[in-house]
């Protein structure tokens, strides 16, 4: 996979060199922030905290530096790549997405397109900003935090659009590989809320108190691995009505064989996602619901984790100001073979964010995120099962 991804990155990097500068568009995002983190040890440090920052840290942090390039190779063929630097990632530079899209023009209501490479499956209604950021909050919902952490379509996706007068329909289908470990974080650690999508060459830290760990901490999951040789897929439908909004449905199945291993086990994960978006004057309402399961069967001993999450976001666009509020609910339920212990979770989160856009190139966002979570796994750390995490951030985001 690494070799494939490296080739894609090199191709994306070299492609613009043969183009006129006008056919290459570069965006950049620099994000520095002040953070007041909750006391619980964060997941990036092997803890069970729910927020991106933990350990009671108070101070400045570099959110990310991203470069996003788009090259128009032919009128119908474009290439896109998003490279990022973030202090905690495994390599100095990493790639979040890199793909090519072929979309011939159509003079009928039907239009088709195809893209291939590495990209997010079309789940999130929040992450419509430059570099897969949200324009409403710093921290995406639990659903889209997980999408960023564990999912990437490394494969191909076809999209057919029917563009009617009053309504539009979209149907999409994709084949994907190298996403076999997806699901392990939900089962072993539970839902989290963080705006740090994982790079193609990065790894995710599992909780030090994970039940299945035979290794010593720190224990990592490499999310983009092909373990069983099976091809995963997803398919989706979206309906959009002019002036009313959008409704999207997606089913995802990585088709992984939960008993397969290459040193790291595959997790068979499938889920349904439904999302809706509407706008009433300057107010936008987004909602998503996800329900699914992940299975893992080392040596024939199957364990099963159901997961579900939902959120509703209300955003108010006031010109240079944006105000957003979101409530999240999330849960997992684990079942182990033979009455073994599996950990379940139930939690809620409330997010309020205020963004000021004084110029074209500067965004200042203040966000307060409060999460309540009940997860017995914390007992292994000598902590109460229930926890409250509150994280405050003020981010200064420069756009180029």
């Amino acid at each position: 996979m690494k070799r494939l991804a490296a080739r894609i990155v090199v191709a994306m990097t070299l492609a613009p060199c043969s183009l006129s500068a006008q056919e290459f568009q570069l965006d950049a995002v620099g994000d520095a922030r002040l953070v007041a983190a909750p006391n619980e040890r964060g997941w990036r440090d092997g803890g069970l905290g729910k927020t991106r920052y933990g350990n009671g840290d108070v101070g400045a942090a570099l959110g990310e530096i991203s470069a996003i390039g788009r090259a128009q190779l032919l009128p119908e063929l474009s290439a896109y790549a998003h490279a990022r630097f973030e202090p905690d990632q495994r390599s100095a530079g990493d790639v979040i997405e890199a793909y090519a899209r072929y979309r011939p023009v159509s003079t009928t209501p039907l239009r088709w397109s195809f893209r291939a490479g590495a990209f997010f499956p079309p789940v999130s209604l929040e992450n419509q900003g430059v570099g897969w950021t949200s324009v409403w909050t710093l921290t995406p919902s639990a659903i889209n935090s997980w999408v960023g952490e564990e999912l990437r379509t490394i494969g191909g996706e076809a999209l057919v659009e029917w563009r009617g007068v009053e309504h539009s329909l979209e149907a999409t289908a994709a084949l994907l590989a190298t996403n076999d470990p997806a699901g392990i974080l939900l089962a072993e650690r539970g839902w989290t809320l963080g705006d740090r999508p994982i790079g193609l060459f990065d790894r995710s830290r599992l909780p030090d108190v994970t039940l299945r760990a035979r290794q010593r901490a720190p224990i990592y999951s490499l999310p983009f691995q092909e373990i069983d040789g099976r091809v995963g897929w997803y398919t989706g439908l979206a309906w959009q009505a002019s002036g009313y909004g959008r409704l999207a449905l997606l089913y995802y199945n990585n088709e992984a064989d939960g008993s397969a291993t290459n040193g790291q086990f595959a997790w068979h994960t499938d889920f349904w996602s439904v999302g809706a978006e509407t706008r009433i004057d300057d107010v936008v309402v987004l909602g998503q619901f996800m329900i699914g399961a992940t299975d893992f069967a080392p040596l024939g001993r199957a364990s099963h984790t159901d997961f579900e999450a939902a959120y509703v976001l209300v955003g108010w666009d006031l010109g240079t100001w944006r105000l957003a509020g979101r409530v999240d609910q999330f849960a997992t339920k684990g079942y182990a073979p033979g009455g073994g212990v599996e950990y379940s979770e139930r939690g809620y989160a409330q997010t309020v964010a205020l963004t000021w856009r004084p110029t074209d190139w500067l965004r200042i966002t203040a966000e307060l995120l409060h999460i309540e979570s009940g997860r017995e796994q914390r007992h292994l750390e000598g902590l109460p099962g229930r926890t409250d995490n509150t994280q405050g951030q003020i981010a200064f985001r420069l756009l180029y």
């Binding site: 563009r163 007068v165 002019s242 009433i280 756009l399």
Partner: protein, 216 residues
């Protein structure tokens, strides 16, 4: 003598009958359902019953592409008129339309101008760029003898309209698609003529470029 008088009266009647009706201006204020002025609305005027030649509209028109935006956003084209598309940007554009009134597509290199596209069918032609999805513009191919656009204050002025009764219609890109244009009867007389139109418009985000949002 009596015959001469009758002749003069008859001639006068003939001259009066043959003389064109006095022409006036009609000022139309277009608002949305909340009373806010609506810019870029098309207002058309068609005489009731009989055909009439209106104020000539330019038959050769141009749509420019500047800063990845079609300029103008809405343009009126008389049926049978033509539009040339110009690319003033430093990047390629792939101009297209799949509107039933006229479907076409072509790639325009920076600085290039297309051959004129002729519009034989009345109706709305939505235009897009297959490379830059945010680019959109509308051509209103008009059958009516009088048609004009509202300004930023939602005001449209139809000049040189003969005194008579007309069917007045209005359209806007955010008018509910698939619905007939609202029509109302107006009578143009001597002096100041004013009319108002209220349009039910769909909600839509601002067309202004938002740097926060992905442009891909």
């Amino acid at each position: 003598m009596r015959g001469l008088r009758q002749g003069i009266i008859g001639l006068a009647c003939l001259v009066l009958a043959a003389a064109p009706l006095a022409a006036a201006d009609l000022v139309v204020q277009v608002t949305d359902a909340d009373g806010r002025p609506v810019a870029d609305a098309v207002v058309t005027l068609a005489p009731e019953g009989v055909a009439a030649a209106g104020t000539p509209m330019p038959r050769r028109n141009e749509v420019d592409q500047r800063n990845e935006t079609f300029v103008p956003y809405v343009q009126i084209v008389p049926r049978g008129g033509e539009v040339a598309f110009k690319n003033s940007d430093l990047t390629r554009h792939h101009v297209y339309s799949f509107s039933p009134a006229r479907a076409f597509e072509f790639v325009l290199a920076p600085g290039q101008q297309s051959d004129p596209v002729r519009f034989e069918r009345a109706g709305v032609v939505a235009i897009g760029c297959n490379i830059h999805d945010r680019m959109v513009a509308y051509l209103y191919v008009a059958d009516a003898p009088w048609a004009t656009l509202t300004d930023a204050e939602g005001r449209a002025v139809l000049s040189g309209v003969p005194e008579a009764s007309y069917a007045m219609r209005a359209w806007h890109p955010r008018a509910r698609p698939g619905r007939p244009e609202p029509s109302q009867k107006v009578t143009v007389g001597s002096g100041a003529n004013q009319a108002t139109v209220s349009l039910a418009l769909l909600r839509e985000p601002s067309r202004q470029l938002d740097r926060d949002r992905a442009r891909y």
